[in-house]
């Protein structure tokens, strides 16, 4: 690979185009262009400057991750946090362990709680109908001896199910906030290549 200023900027641009707004991208590129300009005036070669800057791919990955985490913080959505997570994942191999696995576990936890909530919320009205059928003397499955208790029980589990769903929503928001903070911290500590320098 050619280690020239042009190549550095070309790679940086190509990796960040489409993710960063044009204005922000130009701002970043101008920083590196200035770095090369002053460095050359300082008597260093483009190759030397290229080498000490490190791989433009790594630089781009870090900028991308930072940008996507910030975006996920500003506009909260499943899609944004997922993209932020993926971009951070790309920063280092061991982020498979420190980012991907916690992320999957949290998503599974949230889904399981949500499903339980839905099941309880649906089971409630079903139990209610059975109880009413029993009260009316229609021989449905006799789940409980006292149909009146069944009515109260069904109301209880519906409420419980709905509370689970609502609680899950707040839990998801909580994890989202913590997740953003963790990803930011992760980016500030983890670098792309672990074997360099």
């Amino acid at each position: 690979m050619l280690q020239t200023e042009q190549e550095f900027i070309r790679i940086l641009r190509s990796r960040l185009e489409g993710t960063l707004p044009e204005e922000e991208l130009n701002d970043i590129v101008s920083d590196y262009a200035e770095h090369f300009r002053i460095g050359k005036a300082d008597g260093r070669s483009e190759e030397e400057l290229f080498c000490s800057l490190g791989s433009p791919d790594d630089v781009a990955r870090e900028i991308r991750a930072t940008h996507l985490v910030k975006k996920a913080e500003d506009v909260k959505s499943c899609k944004n946090i997922f993209h932020a997570m993926l971009a951070t994942l790309g920063l280092g191999l061991f982020n498979l362990v420190f980012v991907l696995i916690p992320f999957i576990l949290l998503v599974v936890l949230l889904l399981v709680v949500f499903l339980f909530g839905i099941v309880f919320a649906i089971a409630g009205p079903a139990a209610f109908i059975y109880s009413v059928l029993q009260i009316l003397g229609i021989p449905a499955f006799a789940i409980w001896q006292s149909p009146v208790a069944g009515v109260f029980f069904s109301i209880g589990i519906t409420t419980f199910g709905l509370l689970l769903v609502i609680g899950d929503y707040y839990l998801a928001r909580f994890f989202y906030r913590i997740g953003i903070r963790y990803l930011k911290w992760n980016i500030s500590v983890i670098t792309g290549t672990e074997d360099e320098a």
Partner: protein
């Protein structure tokens, strides 16, 4: 030295250099890499993050015989952050050094 180590302390290093004087990017990178061996390219993304959270601002200034350069300056919030992080680091480093040197009197 472990790269995570270096990257973790990069922020306080950058804040600290800027606390002494405003710098343009190349100058700042030079100050840091003079002492710490790190991929110089990662200092720019860090500067952008610091700018995003409001610890630094930038301004353009003409240079002698060349196009203007982008200078980075600590904001008031940045100065406060630098002070706090520095205190924290000093305490931490003193504790680690005491442990490494096997002093026993640090506990009392």
């Amino acid at each position: 030295m472990n790269i995570q180590f270096k990257k973790g302390v990069l922020e306080i290093c950058v804040l600290s250099v800027l606390a002494r004087k405003d710098c343009y990017g190349y100058e700042l990178v030079g100050e840091i890499s003079k002492r710490i061996d790190i991929s110089e390219g990662t200092i720019y993304p860090l500067l952008h993050r610091l700018k995003d959270v409001g610890y630094v601002t930038t301004y353009l200034q003409e240079s002698a015989g060349g196009p203007s350069r982008k200078y980075y300056r600590l904001t008031e919030a940045g100065r406060k952050e630098e002070h706090e992080q520095k205190e924290e680091w000093m305490r931490f480093a003193a504790s680690v050094n005491a442990l490494l040197e096997g002093k026993n009197d640090a506990a009392d």
